[in-house]
Protein backbone atom coordinates (compact mmCIF):
# COMPACT_ATOMS: atom_id res chain seq x y z
CA UNK A 1 0.00 0.00 0.00
CA UNK A 2 1.18 3.59 -0.60
CA UNK A 3 3.54 5.30 1.81
CA UNK A 4 4.22 9.03 2.27
CA UNK A 5 6.91 10.78 4.24
CA UNK A 6 5.55 13.67 6.30
CA UNK A 7 7.31 16.14 8.53
CA UNK A 8 5.89 16.59 12.03
CA UNK A 9 4.28 19.84 10.87
CA UNK A 10 2.67 18.06 7.92
CA UNK A 11 1.36 15.32 10.20
CA UNK A 12 -0.32 17.88 12.45
CA UNK A 13 -1.77 19.77 9.49
CA UNK A 14 -3.13 16.50 8.16
CA UNK A 15 -4.75 15.66 11.52
CA UNK A 16 -6.35 19.09 11.64
CA UNK A 17 -7.71 18.64 8.13
CA UNK A 18 -9.38 15.39 9.23
CA UNK A 19 -10.95 17.08 12.21
CA UNK A 20 -13.87 18.40 10.21
CA UNK A 21 -15.05 14.89 9.31
CA UNK A 22 -14.06 13.02 12.43
CA UNK A 23 -14.01 13.33 16.15
CA UNK A 24 -10.25 12.90 16.69
CA UNK A 25 -8.95 10.84 19.58
CA UNK A 26 -5.20 11.04 20.16
CA UNK A 27 -2.53 10.76 22.86
CA UNK A 28 -2.19 13.84 25.03
CA UNK A 29 0.53 14.38 27.65
CA UNK A 30 -1.05 15.18 30.99
CA UNK A 31 2.12 15.56 33.04
CA UNK A 32 4.46 13.30 35.02
CA UNK A 33 5.07 11.15 31.96
CA UNK A 34 1.42 10.17 31.81
CA UNK A 35 -0.32 10.11 28.47
CA UNK A 36 -4.01 9.65 27.90
CA UNK A 37 -6.07 9.05 24.80
CA UNK A 38 -8.40 12.04 24.70
CA UNK A 39 -10.68 13.73 22.25
CA UNK A 40 -8.70 16.67 20.87
CA UNK A 41 -9.78 19.97 19.35
CA UNK A 42 -6.47 20.85 17.77
CA UNK A 43 -3.54 18.78 16.52
CA UNK A 44 -1.15 20.84 18.71
CA UNK A 45 -2.54 18.93 21.69
CA UNK A 46 -1.21 15.66 20.31
CA UNK A 47 2.04 14.40 21.80
CA UNK A 48 3.69 11.79 19.62
CA UNK A 49 6.45 11.14 22.13
CA UNK A 50 3.78 8.94 23.71
CA UNK A 51 4.85 5.70 25.32
CA UNK A 52 1.78 3.81 26.45
CA UNK A 53 -1.34 5.79 27.28
CA UNK A 54 -2.82 5.19 30.73
CA UNK A 55 -6.22 4.44 29.21
CA UNK A 56 -6.70 2.16 26.23
CA UNK A 57 -8.83 2.73 23.15
CA UNK A 58 -11.51 0.57 24.81
CA UNK A 59 -12.91 3.80 26.28
CA UNK A 60 -13.94 4.93 22.78
CA UNK A 61 -15.67 1.74 21.68
CA UNK A 62 -17.08 0.61 24.98
CA UNK A 63 -17.20 3.69 27.21
CA UNK A 64 -17.07 3.44 31.02
CA UNK A 65 -20.74 4.47 31.16
CA UNK A 66 -23.22 4.76 28.34
CA UNK A 67 -26.95 5.09 28.05
CA UNK A 68 -28.34 2.07 26.24
CA UNK A 69 -32.04 2.84 26.66
CA UNK A 70 -33.86 6.13 27.22
CA UNK A 71 -36.99 5.33 29.20
CA UNK A 72 -39.95 7.69 29.33
CA UNK A 73 -42.55 6.27 31.59
CA UNK A 74 -46.08 7.16 32.53
CA UNK A 75 -48.36 5.31 34.93
CA UNK A 76 -49.67 2.96 32.27
CA UNK A 77 -47.34 3.43 29.34
CA UNK A 78 -43.68 3.60 28.56
CA UNK A 79 -41.58 4.64 25.61
CA UNK A 80 -38.18 3.17 24.99
CA UNK A 81 -35.51 4.44 22.70
CA UNK A 82 -32.00 3.13 22.09
CA UNK A 83 -29.54 5.96 21.37
CA UNK A 84 -26.97 4.69 18.88
CA UNK A 85 -23.71 6.62 18.44
CA UNK A 86 -23.57 8.41 15.09
CA UNK A 87 -20.38 10.50 14.97
CA UNK A 88 -17.44 9.03 13.04
CA UNK A 89 -14.24 8.96 15.06
CA UNK A 90 -10.60 8.73 14.13
CA UNK A 91 -8.21 7.22 16.63
CA UNK A 92 -4.78 8.63 15.98
CA UNK A 93 -1.40 7.18 17.00
CA UNK A 94 -2.76 4.05 18.64
CA UNK A 95 -0.23 1.34 19.41
CA UNK A 96 -0.42 -2.00 17.59
CA UNK A 97 -1.35 -3.86 20.80
CA UNK A 98 -4.36 -1.60 21.33
CA UNK A 99 -5.45 -1.99 17.72
CA UNK A 100 -5.04 -5.77 18.04
CA UNK A 101 -7.18 -5.81 21.21
CA UNK A 102 -10.18 -4.97 19.04
CA UNK A 103 -9.99 -8.46 17.57
CA UNK A 104 -11.05 -9.87 20.95
CA UNK A 105 -13.65 -7.16 21.45
CA UNK A 106 -15.04 -7.78 17.95
CA UNK A 107 -15.38 -11.49 18.68
CA UNK A 108 -17.39 -10.68 21.78
CA UNK A 109 -19.46 -7.68 20.77
CA UNK A 110 -19.98 -8.36 17.07
CA UNK A 111 -20.75 -12.06 17.62
CA UNK A 112 -24.43 -13.00 17.68
CA UNK A 113 -26.43 -11.42 19.14
CA UNK A 114 -24.45 -8.38 18.00
CA UNK A 115 -24.10 -5.40 20.30
CA UNK A 116 -25.48 -2.41 18.40
CA UNK A 117 -23.66 0.23 20.45
CA UNK A 118 -20.19 -1.22 20.02
CA UNK A 119 -21.02 -2.14 16.42
CA UNK A 120 -21.99 1.44 15.54
CA UNK A 121 -18.78 2.84 16.99
CA UNK A 122 -16.64 0.19 15.36
CA UNK A 123 -18.15 0.80 11.92
CA UNK A 124 -17.61 4.54 12.23
CA UNK A 125 -14.03 4.39 13.40
CA UNK A 126 -10.77 4.88 11.58
CA UNK A 127 -7.62 3.63 13.24
CA UNK A 128 -4.25 5.24 12.61
CA UNK A 129 -1.45 3.34 14.30
CA UNK A 130 1.94 4.39 15.58
CA UNK A 131 4.37 1.51 15.18
CA UNK A 132 6.63 0.55 18.06
CA UNK A 133 9.99 0.65 16.30
CA UNK A 134 11.53 0.75 19.76
CA UNK A 135 9.97 -1.09 22.68
CA UNK A 136 7.99 1.64 24.40
CA UNK A 137 7.88 0.27 27.96
CA UNK A 138 9.47 -2.45 30.09
CA UNK A 139 6.02 -4.00 30.70
CA UNK A 140 5.32 -4.70 27.01
CA UNK A 141 4.76 -8.33 26.04
CA UNK A 142 2.61 -8.27 22.89
CA UNK A 143 4.67 -10.94 21.12
CA UNK A 144 3.85 -13.43 23.90
CA UNK A 145 0.18 -13.26 22.93
CA UNK A 146 0.73 -13.35 19.18
CA UNK A 147 1.05 -9.63 18.54
CA UNK A 148 3.87 -7.60 17.09
CA UNK A 149 5.29 -4.14 17.89
CA UNK A 150 4.80 -3.32 14.22
CA UNK A 151 1.61 -5.35 13.77
CA UNK A 152 -1.02 -3.79 11.53
CA UNK A 153 -4.11 -5.77 12.60
CA UNK A 154 -7.29 -3.66 12.53
CA UNK A 155 -5.43 -0.54 11.38
CA UNK A 156 -6.35 1.65 8.42
CA UNK A 157 -3.02 3.47 8.46
CA UNK A 158 0.30 3.12 10.23
CA UNK A 159 2.81 5.80 11.15
CA UNK A 160 6.51 4.99 11.44
CA UNK A 161 8.72 7.49 13.19
CA UNK A 162 11.89 8.13 11.17
CA UNK A 163 14.61 10.80 11.56
CA UNK A 164 13.01 13.02 8.88
CA UNK A 165 9.51 12.84 10.37
CA UNK A 166 6.87 10.16 9.92
CA UNK A 167 6.21 7.65 7.20
CA UNK A 168 2.50 7.06 6.84
CA UNK A 169 1.41 3.82 5.20
CA UNK A 170 -2.15 3.14 4.10
CA UNK A 171 -3.39 -0.31 5.08
CA UNK A 172 -7.00 -0.20 3.93
CA UNK A 173 -9.03 1.50 1.21
CA UNK A 174 -10.30 3.97 3.80
CA UNK A 175 -6.74 4.62 4.90
CA UNK A 176 -5.66 5.21 1.34
CA UNK A 177 -8.36 7.82 0.85
CA UNK A 178 -7.33 9.61 4.03
CA UNK A 179 -3.70 9.59 3.03
CA UNK A 180 -4.61 11.42 -0.17
CA UNK A 181 -5.45 14.41 2.01
CA UNK A 182 -1.91 14.45 3.43
CA UNK A 183 0.96 16.44 1.96
CA UNK A 184 4.51 15.07 2.04
CA UNK A 185 6.12 12.96 -0.61
CA UNK A 186 5.89 9.34 -1.71
CA UNK A 187 8.48 6.94 -0.26
CA UNK A 188 10.47 4.94 -2.79
CA UNK A 189 11.60 2.28 -2.25
CA UNK A 190 8.99 1.50 0.44
CA UNK A 191 10.10 1.66 4.06
CA UNK A 192 10.43 -1.78 5.63
CA UNK A 193 10.05 -1.58 9.40
CA UNK A 194 12.09 -3.80 11.71
CA UNK A 195 10.37 -5.09 14.81
CA UNK A 196 12.33 -4.70 18.05
CA UNK A 197 12.97 -7.71 20.28
CA UNK A 198 10.66 -8.21 23.25
CA UNK A 199 11.11 -10.55 26.19
CA UNK A 200 9.40 -13.89 25.55
CA UNK A 201 7.12 -15.21 28.28
CA UNK A 202 5.31 -18.53 28.19
CA UNK A 203 1.68 -18.48 27.04
CA UNK A 204 0.25 -21.55 28.76
CA UNK A 205 -2.35 -23.50 26.80
CA UNK A 206 -5.81 -24.26 28.18
CA UNK A 207 -4.71 -27.61 29.66
CA UNK A 208 -2.14 -25.86 31.83
CA UNK A 209 -4.75 -23.56 33.35
CA UNK A 210 -6.82 -26.65 34.10
CA UNK A 211 -3.77 -28.27 35.73
CA UNK A 212 -3.21 -25.35 38.10
CA UNK A 213 -6.86 -24.58 38.73
CA UNK A 214 -6.74 -25.77 42.34
CA UNK A 215 -3.13 -24.68 42.91
CA UNK A 216 -2.34 -22.48 45.90
CA UNK A 217 -1.05 -19.84 43.45
CA UNK A 218 -4.44 -18.11 43.32
CA UNK A 219 -4.86 -17.65 47.04
CA UNK A 220 -1.21 -16.56 47.26
CA UNK A 221 -1.97 -13.83 44.70
CA UNK A 222 -5.29 -13.14 46.41
CA UNK A 223 -3.49 -12.31 49.63
CA UNK A 224 -1.66 -9.52 47.81
CA UNK A 225 -4.57 -8.27 45.71
CA UNK A 226 -6.31 -5.19 47.07
CA UNK A 227 -9.39 -5.72 44.92
CA UNK A 228 -8.86 -2.20 43.52
CA UNK A 229 -9.89 -3.26 39.99
CA UNK A 230 -7.42 -0.91 38.25
CA UNK A 231 -6.16 -3.86 36.16
CA UNK A 232 -9.60 -4.27 34.63
CA UNK A 233 -10.20 -0.57 33.99
CA UNK A 234 -6.92 0.02 32.14
CA UNK A 235 -7.17 -3.29 30.28
CA UNK A 236 -8.12 -2.91 26.60
CA UNK A 237 -9.99 -6.24 26.65
CA UNK A 238 -11.61 -6.47 30.09
CA UNK A 239 -15.22 -5.97 29.14
CA UNK A 240 -17.41 -7.18 32.03
CA UNK A 241 -20.29 -4.79 32.50
CA UNK A 242 -23.21 -3.97 34.68
CA UNK A 243 -26.62 -2.71 33.57
CA UNK A 244 -28.62 -0.46 35.84
CA UNK A 245 -31.29 2.21 35.71
CA UNK A 246 -30.67 5.77 36.84
CA UNK A 247 -33.01 8.68 37.31
CA UNK A 248 -36.34 9.38 38.88
CA UNK A 249 -39.76 10.42 37.70
CA UNK A 250 -40.82 10.11 34.10
CA UNK A 251 -37.39 10.12 32.47
CA UNK A 252 -34.85 7.51 33.36
CA UNK A 253 -31.94 5.95 31.61
CA UNK A 254 -30.74 2.40 31.46
CA UNK A 255 -26.97 2.54 31.72
CA UNK A 256 -24.28 0.12 30.85
CA UNK A 257 -21.20 0.57 33.03
CA UNK A 258 -17.87 -1.13 33.29
CA UNK A 259 -17.72 -3.71 36.01
CA UNK A 260 -14.89 -5.90 37.23
CA UNK A 261 -14.84 -9.59 38.04
CA UNK A 262 -12.24 -8.75 40.68
CA UNK A 263 -14.88 -6.75 42.52
CA UNK A 264 -16.33 -8.21 45.70
CA UNK A 265 -19.81 -7.26 44.56
CA UNK A 266 -19.54 -8.67 41.08
CA UNK A 267 -21.13 -12.07 41.40
CA UNK A 268 -22.72 -12.07 44.85
CA UNK A 269 -26.37 -13.02 44.48
CA UNK A 270 -29.43 -11.45 46.06
CA UNK A 271 -29.54 -14.39 48.46
CA UNK A 272 -26.03 -13.50 49.69
CA UNK A 273 -24.48 -16.55 48.01
CA UNK A 274 -21.18 -15.75 46.30
CA UNK A 275 -19.73 -18.32 43.91
CA UNK A 276 -16.32 -16.57 44.00
CA UNK A 277 -15.99 -15.51 47.62
CA UNK A 278 -12.23 -14.85 47.83
CA UNK A 279 -9.88 -12.45 46.06
CA UNK A 280 -7.89 -15.47 44.94
CA UNK A 281 -10.95 -17.04 43.32
CA UNK A 282 -11.76 -13.75 41.62
CA UNK A 283 -8.20 -13.25 40.33
CA UNK A 284 -8.19 -16.82 39.02
CA UNK A 285 -11.40 -16.04 37.18
CA UNK A 286 -9.84 -12.97 35.59
CA UNK A 287 -6.68 -14.72 34.42
CA UNK A 288 -8.53 -17.87 33.32
CA UNK A 289 -11.03 -15.74 31.42
CA UNK A 290 -8.22 -14.19 29.42
CA UNK A 291 -6.20 -17.30 28.66
CA UNK A 292 -8.65 -20.19 28.94
CA UNK A 293 -12.39 -19.35 29.01
CA UNK A 294 -12.41 -16.70 26.27
CA UNK A 295 -10.20 -18.66 23.83
CA UNK A 296 -12.33 -21.74 24.56
CA UNK A 297 -15.41 -19.88 23.35
CA UNK A 298 -13.89 -17.78 20.56
CA UNK A 299 -11.75 -20.18 18.55
CA UNK A 300 -8.50 -19.57 20.38
CA UNK A 301 -8.68 -15.77 20.49
CA UNK A 302 -6.94 -14.65 23.68
CA UNK A 303 -8.45 -11.90 25.79
CA UNK A 304 -5.12 -10.11 26.21
CA UNK A 305 -3.08 -7.96 23.86
CA UNK A 306 0.10 -7.87 25.91
CA UNK A 307 -0.07 -4.11 26.40
CA UNK A 308 1.33 -4.38 29.93
CA UNK A 309 -1.03 -1.81 31.45
CA UNK A 310 -2.17 -4.11 34.24
CA UNK A 311 1.47 -4.83 35.09
CA UNK A 312 2.30 -1.12 35.22
CA UNK A 313 -0.84 -0.12 37.12
CA UNK A 314 -1.06 -2.77 39.83
CA UNK A 315 -0.29 -1.15 43.20
CA UNK A 316 0.93 -4.46 44.65
CA UNK A 317 2.92 -5.65 41.64
CA UNK A 318 0.76 -8.52 40.57
CA UNK A 319 2.49 -9.03 37.27
CA UNK A 320 0.66 -10.92 34.55
CA UNK A 321 3.93 -11.99 32.94
CA UNK A 322 4.97 -13.55 36.26
CA UNK A 323 1.60 -15.23 36.53
CA UNK A 324 2.14 -16.72 33.07
CA UNK A 325 5.53 -18.02 34.17
CA UNK A 326 4.12 -19.44 37.40
CA UNK A 327 1.26 -21.16 35.60
CA UNK A 328 3.63 -22.70 33.06
CA UNK A 329 6.05 -23.81 35.76
CA UNK A 330 3.47 -25.23 38.17
CA UNK A 331 1.59 -26.93 35.35
CA UNK A 332 4.87 -28.50 34.30
CA UNK A 333 5.36 -29.74 37.87
CA UNK A 334 1.86 -31.23 37.87
CA UNK A 335 2.54 -32.94 34.56
CA UNK A 336 5.87 -34.27 35.80
CA UNK A 337 4.32 -35.41 39.07
CA UNK A 338 1.52 -37.13 37.17
CA UNK A 339 -1.11 -35.73 39.53
CA UNK A 340 -3.93 -35.07 37.10
CA UNK A 341 -5.06 -31.89 38.82
Amino acid sequence: MPQRLLSSEEVFAWVDSLGSDYRIIAPVHEGEGRFFLRRIGDAREVDLSVTRTVNSLKDFFFPPTETIVHIRRGKTNVQLEAPLPERPQLLFAVRPCDAASLTSMDALFLGEPADPYYGARRRQSILVGLACLEVPTPECFCTTVGGSPIGTTNLDLMLYRVPEGYIAEALSARGETLLEAASGRPVEPPFRPQAPELPAYPCPPQEDWVRVFTDSLWEELGERCLGCKICTYVCPTCYCFDIRDRGAGGRVERLRCWDACTSKHYSVEASGHDPRPTRGARLRNRFCHKYYYFPWRYHGTLLCSGCGRCVAACPVNIDLTEVLEEVAERAQAVRAGGQGN
Binding site: I68, V69, I71, R73, G74, K75, T76, N77, V78, L80, A82, L108, F109, E112, P113, A114, D115, P116, Y117, V210, F213, Y239, C240, F241, D242, I243, R244, D245, G247, A248, V252, R254, R256, D259, C261, Y266, S267, V268, E269, A270, S271, H273, P275, N285, C288, H289, Y292, Y293, W296, R297
Partner: protein
Protein backbone atom coordinates in the same frame (compact mmCIF):
# COMPACT_ATOMS: atom_id res chain seq x y z
CA UNK B 1 -31.18 -8.14 14.11
CA UNK B 2 -33.05 -6.07 16.66
CA UNK B 3 -31.34 -4.57 19.69
CA UNK B 4 -31.00 -7.38 22.25
CA UNK B 5 -30.77 -4.87 25.11
CA UNK B 6 -34.10 -3.23 24.29
CA UNK B 7 -36.93 -4.83 26.24
CA UNK B 8 -40.33 -5.60 24.77
CA UNK B 9 -42.98 -3.54 26.50
CA UNK B 10 -45.55 -5.46 28.49
CA UNK B 11 -48.40 -4.69 30.85
CA UNK B 12 -49.09 -6.38 34.17
CA UNK B 13 -52.49 -8.00 33.85
CA UNK B 14 -52.49 -9.87 37.14
CA UNK B 15 -50.52 -9.80 40.36
CA UNK B 16 -51.29 -12.57 42.79
CA UNK B 17 -49.79 -13.78 46.07
CA UNK B 18 -48.29 -17.20 45.51
CA UNK B 19 -46.68 -17.55 48.92
CA UNK B 20 -45.24 -15.32 51.59
CA UNK B 21 -43.00 -12.82 49.78
CA UNK B 22 -43.62 -14.46 46.40
CA UNK B 23 -45.97 -13.07 43.79
CA UNK B 24 -47.08 -14.29 40.41
CA UNK B 25 -46.94 -11.65 37.70
CA UNK B 26 -48.86 -12.07 34.46
CA UNK B 27 -47.54 -9.97 31.61
CA UNK B 28 -49.25 -9.18 28.34
CA UNK B 29 -46.76 -8.23 25.63
CA UNK B 30 -47.93 -5.12 23.85
CA UNK B 31 -46.28 -5.34 20.47
CA UNK B 32 -46.19 -7.89 17.71
CA UNK B 33 -42.41 -8.35 17.85
CA UNK B 34 -42.58 -9.28 21.52
CA UNK B 35 -45.43 -11.73 20.98
CA UNK B 36 -43.57 -13.29 18.06
CA UNK B 37 -40.40 -13.66 20.14
CA UNK B 38 -42.33 -15.46 22.86
CA UNK B 39 -44.58 -17.50 20.54
CA UNK B 40 -42.91 -20.82 21.26
CA UNK B 41 -40.60 -20.51 24.24
CA UNK B 42 -39.74 -23.75 25.98
CA UNK B 43 -39.80 -25.16 29.51
CA UNK B 44 -36.63 -24.07 31.31
CA UNK B 45 -36.04 -20.86 29.38
CA UNK B 46 -35.88 -17.56 31.20
CA UNK B 47 -36.46 -13.87 30.57
CA UNK B 48 -35.51 -10.55 32.11
CA UNK B 49 -38.29 -8.56 33.71
CA UNK B 50 -37.76 -4.79 34.05
CA UNK B 51 -39.13 -2.50 36.68
CA UNK B 52 -38.44 0.65 34.65
CA UNK B 53 -36.32 3.10 36.55
CA UNK B 54 -35.01 0.47 38.92
CA UNK B 55 -33.56 -2.28 36.77
CA UNK B 56 -34.08 -5.73 35.35
CA UNK B 57 -33.53 -9.25 36.67
CA UNK B 58 -33.80 -12.70 35.09
CA UNK B 59 -36.53 -15.16 36.05
CA UNK B 60 -37.34 -18.63 34.85
CA UNK B 61 -40.51 -18.48 32.77
CA UNK B 62 -43.20 -20.12 34.91
CA UNK B 63 -45.71 -20.60 32.09
CA UNK B 64 -45.99 -22.35 28.72
CA UNK B 65 -47.20 -20.71 25.51
CA UNK B 66 -49.76 -23.51 25.09
CA UNK B 67 -51.43 -22.77 28.42
CA UNK B 68 -51.17 -19.02 28.51
CA UNK B 69 -51.01 -16.24 25.92
CA UNK B 70 -49.47 -14.13 28.64
CA UNK B 71 -46.14 -14.69 30.36
CA UNK B 72 -46.03 -15.71 33.99
CA UNK B 73 -43.22 -15.04 36.42
CA UNK B 74 -42.91 -16.07 40.06
CA UNK B 75 -40.99 -13.33 41.83
CA UNK B 76 -39.65 -13.54 45.37
CA UNK B 77 -39.03 -10.21 47.03
CA UNK B 78 -35.31 -10.39 47.81
CA UNK B 79 -33.55 -7.38 46.29
CA UNK B 80 -34.03 -3.91 44.90
CA UNK B 81 -35.59 -4.83 41.57
CA UNK B 82 -37.81 -7.58 42.95
CA UNK B 83 -39.03 -5.18 45.64
CA UNK B 84 -39.84 -2.61 42.95
CA UNK B 85 -41.71 -5.27 40.98
CA UNK B 86 -43.70 -6.18 44.09
CA UNK B 87 -44.73 -2.55 44.39
CA UNK B 88 -46.24 -2.50 40.90
CA UNK B 89 -49.96 -2.86 40.36
CA UNK B 90 -52.05 -4.29 37.56
CA UNK B 91 -51.86 -2.02 34.53
CA UNK B 92 -48.25 -1.01 35.14
CA UNK B 93 -45.85 -1.22 32.21
CA UNK B 94 -42.92 -3.61 32.54
CA UNK B 95 -40.14 -4.64 30.19
CA UNK B 96 -39.39 -8.15 29.05
CA UNK B 97 -36.24 -9.41 27.32
CA UNK B 98 -36.07 -12.98 26.12
CA UNK B 99 -36.75 -15.82 25.85
CA UNK B 100 -33.20 -16.78 26.74
CA UNK B 101 -31.12 -19.84 27.42
CA UNK B 102 -31.54 -23.49 26.59
CA UNK B 103 -34.43 -25.61 27.83
CA UNK B 104 -35.28 -28.99 29.25
CA UNK B 105 -34.94 -31.47 26.36
CA UNK B 106 -38.61 -32.51 26.49
CA UNK B 107 -38.31 -34.33 23.13
CA UNK B 108 -35.43 -36.46 24.41
CA UNK B 109 -37.49 -37.26 27.51
CA UNK B 110 -40.27 -38.81 25.39
CA UNK B 111 -41.24 -42.31 26.38
CA UNK B 112 -39.58 -41.97 29.77
CA UNK B 113 -40.85 -41.65 33.30
CA UNK B 114 -40.40 -38.20 34.80
CA UNK B 115 -39.39 -37.52 38.38
CA UNK B 116 -39.80 -33.82 39.16
CA UNK B 117 -38.46 -32.48 42.45
CA UNK B 118 -38.74 -28.80 43.31
CA UNK B 119 -38.15 -26.76 46.43
CA UNK B 120 -39.41 -23.29 47.35
CA UNK B 121 -39.46 -20.82 44.51
CA UNK B 122 -37.25 -23.29 42.64
CA UNK B 123 -40.49 -25.03 41.82
CA UNK B 124 -41.45 -22.18 39.47
CA UNK B 125 -39.26 -23.22 36.48
CA UNK B 126 -40.51 -26.81 36.90
CA UNK B 127 -44.16 -25.80 36.54
CA UNK B 128 -43.80 -25.46 32.73
CA UNK B 129 -42.18 -28.92 32.64
CA UNK B 130 -45.24 -30.35 34.39
CA UNK B 131 -47.65 -28.38 32.20
CA UNK B 132 -45.85 -29.45 29.05
CA UNK B 133 -45.75 -33.11 30.09
CA UNK B 134 -49.44 -33.12 31.05
CA UNK B 135 -50.33 -31.43 27.74
CA UNK B 136 -48.38 -34.16 25.91
CA UNK B 137 -49.44 -36.85 28.34
CA UNK B 138 -49.14 -39.74 25.88
CA UNK B 139 -45.49 -38.88 25.20
CA UNK B 140 -44.35 -39.60 28.75
CA UNK B 141 -44.54 -42.51 31.16
CA UNK B 142 -45.26 -42.31 34.85
CA UNK B 143 -44.86 -38.85 36.36
CA UNK B 144 -43.75 -38.36 39.96
CA UNK B 145 -43.89 -34.85 41.37
CA UNK B 146 -42.33 -33.89 44.70
CA UNK B 147 -42.90 -30.36 45.95
CA UNK B 148 -41.27 -28.92 49.04
CA UNK B 149 -40.79 -25.73 50.97
CA UNK B 150 -39.54 -24.60 54.34
CA UNK B 151 -43.11 -23.94 55.52
CA UNK B 152 -46.65 -24.34 54.13
CA UNK B 153 -46.94 -20.62 53.41
CA UNK B 154 -43.87 -20.85 51.16
CA UNK B 155 -45.30 -23.49 48.81
CA UNK B 156 -45.99 -22.10 45.35
CA UNK B 157 -48.77 -23.04 42.88
CA UNK B 158 -50.72 -24.88 45.61
CA UNK B 159 -53.97 -24.33 43.74
CA UNK B 160 -52.61 -26.54 40.95
CA UNK B 161 -51.76 -29.51 43.18
CA UNK B 162 -55.22 -30.94 42.64
CA UNK B 163 -54.82 -30.94 38.86
CA UNK B 164 -51.41 -32.61 39.07
CA UNK B 165 -52.46 -35.19 41.66
CA UNK B 166 -55.46 -36.24 39.60
CA UNK B 167 -53.69 -36.36 36.23
CA UNK B 168 -53.47 -39.84 34.69
CA UNK B 169 -50.54 -42.01 35.79
CA UNK B 170 -49.20 -39.18 37.92
CA UNK B 171 -48.35 -39.14 41.59
CA UNK B 172 -47.95 -35.97 43.56
CA UNK B 173 -46.33 -35.55 46.97
CA UNK B 174 -45.60 -32.49 49.02
CA UNK B 175 -43.64 -31.86 52.18
CA UNK B 176 -42.62 -28.92 54.34
CA UNK B 177 -39.60 -28.64 56.65
CA UNK B 178 -41.77 -27.27 59.42
CA UNK B 179 -45.56 -27.48 59.50
CA UNK B 180 -48.10 -25.14 61.06
CA UNK B 181 -51.45 -25.60 62.79
CA UNK B 182 -53.28 -26.06 59.47
CA UNK B 183 -50.78 -28.48 57.94
CA UNK B 184 -51.73 -32.15 57.98
CA UNK B 185 -49.36 -33.42 55.30
CA UNK B 186 -45.76 -34.61 55.30
CA UNK B 187 -43.28 -32.83 57.47
CA UNK B 188 -39.56 -33.16 56.80
CA UNK B 189 -36.89 -32.36 54.25
CA UNK B 190 -37.54 -33.10 50.60
CA UNK B 191 -34.89 -35.82 50.73
CA UNK B 192 -36.89 -37.63 53.42
CA UNK B 193 -39.91 -37.57 51.13
CA UNK B 194 -37.69 -38.61 48.22
CA UNK B 195 -36.42 -41.57 50.28
CA UNK B 196 -39.99 -42.58 51.14
CA UNK B 197 -41.34 -42.27 47.59
CA UNK B 198 -38.18 -43.96 46.30
CA UNK B 199 -38.55 -43.16 42.59
CA UNK B 200 -37.30 -45.88 40.25
CA UNK B 201 -34.42 -44.95 37.96
CA UNK B 202 -35.65 -47.41 35.37
CA UNK B 203 -36.34 -45.59 32.10
CA UNK B 204 -36.61 -42.35 34.06
CA UNK B 205 -35.20 -38.86 34.10
CA UNK B 206 -35.14 -36.72 37.21
CA UNK B 207 -35.53 -32.94 36.99
CA UNK B 208 -34.81 -30.85 40.02
CA UNK B 209 -34.61 -27.22 41.00
CA UNK B 210 -34.38 -25.42 44.30
CA UNK B 211 -31.80 -23.82 46.55
CA UNK B 212 -28.23 -25.01 45.76
CA UNK B 213 -28.01 -26.96 49.01
CA UNK B 214 -31.27 -28.78 48.24
CA UNK B 215 -30.14 -29.64 44.72
CA UNK B 216 -26.91 -31.03 46.13
CA UNK B 217 -28.62 -33.44 48.52
CA UNK B 218 -31.44 -34.37 46.13
CA UNK B 219 -28.87 -35.26 43.46
CA UNK B 220 -26.80 -37.27 45.96
CA UNK B 221 -29.87 -39.25 46.96
CA UNK B 222 -30.89 -39.73 43.33
CA UNK B 223 -27.49 -41.29 42.72
CA UNK B 224 -28.00 -43.62 45.68
CA UNK B 225 -31.41 -44.45 44.25
CA UNK B 226 -29.71 -45.63 41.08
CA UNK B 227 -29.96 -42.58 38.82
CA UNK B 228 -26.80 -42.04 36.76
CA UNK B 229 -25.63 -38.45 36.10
CA UNK B 230 -27.01 -38.52 32.54
CA UNK B 231 -30.50 -39.09 33.98
CA UNK B 232 -30.50 -36.05 36.24
CA UNK B 233 -31.24 -32.50 35.04
CA UNK B 234 -31.29 -29.24 36.87
CA UNK B 235 -31.54 -25.57 36.09
CA UNK B 236 -28.89 -23.28 37.58
CA UNK B 237 -28.85 -19.62 38.35
CA UNK B 238 -26.05 -17.14 38.73
CA UNK B 239 -26.17 -13.38 38.93
CA UNK B 240 -26.74 -12.07 35.41
CA UNK B 241 -26.92 -8.71 33.72
CA UNK B 242 -27.27 -9.27 29.99
CA UNK B 243 -28.44 -12.83 29.35
CA UNK B 244 -26.55 -12.75 26.06
CA UNK B 245 -23.18 -14.22 27.00
CA UNK B 246 -21.60 -10.76 26.96
CA UNK B 247 -21.51 -9.19 30.39
CA UNK B 248 -19.16 -11.86 31.71
CA UNK B 249 -20.93 -12.46 34.98
CA UNK B 250 -22.66 -15.81 35.09
CA UNK B 251 -19.75 -18.03 34.16
CA UNK B 252 -18.93 -21.29 35.87
CA UNK B 253 -15.46 -21.87 34.44
CA UNK B 254 -15.75 -21.53 30.67
CA UNK B 255 -19.54 -22.00 30.60
CA UNK B 256 -22.10 -19.25 30.79
CA UNK B 257 -25.29 -20.15 32.61
CA UNK B 258 -27.20 -17.68 30.41
CA UNK B 259 -26.35 -19.11 26.99
CA UNK B 260 -24.95 -22.60 27.68
CA UNK B 261 -27.64 -23.20 30.34
CA UNK B 262 -29.55 -22.64 32.51
CA UNK B 263 -30.47 -26.32 32.08
CA UNK B 264 -27.60 -28.76 32.62
CA UNK B 265 -27.49 -32.49 33.15
CA UNK B 266 -25.68 -33.66 36.24
CA UNK B 267 -23.19 -35.32 33.86
CA UNK B 268 -22.37 -31.86 32.46
CA UNK B 269 -22.14 -30.33 35.93
CA UNK B 270 -19.59 -32.97 36.94
CA UNK B 271 -17.39 -31.66 34.11
CA UNK B 272 -17.44 -28.07 35.42
CA UNK B 273 -14.02 -26.92 36.51
CA UNK B 274 -15.35 -24.42 39.04
CA UNK B 275 -18.00 -24.51 41.74
CA UNK B 276 -21.15 -22.40 41.70
Amino acid sequence: MSNPFLPYVGTLTEVRELAVGIRLFRVRLEDEAGRAAFADYRPGQFAFLSAFGVGEVPFGLASTPARSQELEFAVARVGTVTSALHNLEVGAPVGVRGPMGNSFPMEEFRGRNLVIIGGGIGFAPLRPVIQYALDHRADYGHITILAAARAPNLLVFREEYEEWASAPDTEFHVTVDVGDETWTGNVGLVTELQAKVSPSPENAVAITCGPPIMIKFVVQLLQKQGFVPEQVYTTLEMKMKCGLGKCGRCNIGERYVCVDGPVFSHAQILQFIDSF
